[in-house]
Symmetry: C2
């Protein structure tokens, strides 16, 4: 079969991902870490170290004030399709939340890019644990990422319940 | 070594991802497809079929007007760390663009969720090719995803050059 004849490969397909870098952050466990960049502050700062082989791909990134960090939730526990998210007290379907216990534990974090020093990106408003593998970086751009939205589900009632994470999505919970 | 002792696994780590569903869209090739949801219209509509085993995770998703579709760019060509994006005529580092020729070909698309019918999500403002594997869904929420940004790099000068994609990131280009 030609490679693109059944490109999706059906339900049983698998693909491999690999890190392009790693997060260095003050958060060494889920307990106490910010649950989202929007709930983190300027003091929640760290660095993203990009591996040398990907250096060329960073050109132009520092023109952006904010970047998407696509990450691998390496410390999450088993997949759970129903969860009680940190931002609410009601159970929800996993895909209606940003909880890490996902079939593919991939996170998207729009963090503030303070400056770039070679392969090191200094960032703030960071919600990622120390050692989190980075799969991708993308520019955050209002023209691409900001949409007017009138309905945001369960978040409408509980949209800004502040507070850090607890250990509920950890490996042993 | 305990599983979490060196959780990132270093530069040579690999992890597997698998589809939770598949995109059905009118776009069968990159040429002519919208390059971003923000540049797609209500007529760029399709469906996302979620596999039965993940059904439970969809509860509550239809309260959201817009959702992130985390997808696998299954039709992209080789990795290119310098690209000329569709939205500009200047070459940029890959990570400063949303081009698909990425080390991990993962896309994030904030599409409009029209309605859910069981395992089928009817969506619009879709920029994904027919057959694109879906790795994850997340709610799009202004409180989590909208940030004031004063600098958006090369997109500032060329932020809304409209027009569909050509074949530049395809397998044979």
């Amino acid at each position: 079969m030609a490679p693109n004849e059944n490109p999706a490969g059906g339900e049983s397909a698998q693909w491999q991902v690999r890190p392009i870098g790693v997060v260095h952050s003050p958060f060494t466990s889920q307990t106490g870490a910010p649950v989202q960049p929007a709930l983190a502050g300027p003091e929640d700062a760290g660095t993203i170290e990009i591996y040398e082989q990907f250096a060329e791909g960073l050109d132009g990134l520092d023109g952006f004030e904010r970047i998407w960090v696509v990450s691998w939730f390496h410390r999450t526990g088993p997949v759970r399709l129903r969860v009680t998210p940190h931002l609410d007290h009601r159970e929800q379907g996993l895909f209606a939340t940003r909880a890490p216990s996902r079939p593919n534990p991939i996170g998207i974090s729009a963090v503030r890019l303070l400056r770039r020093a070679g392969l090191i990106l200094h960032v703030a408003e960071l919600d990622l644990l120390d050692g989190t593998p980075v799969l991708d970086l993308k520019p955050y751009a209002p023209t691409l990422d900001v949409f007017p939205v009138s309905r945001q589900g369960w978040l409408e009632e509980r949209s800004r319940r502040a507070g850090p994470a607890d250990g509920r999505f950890g490996p042993s919970s």
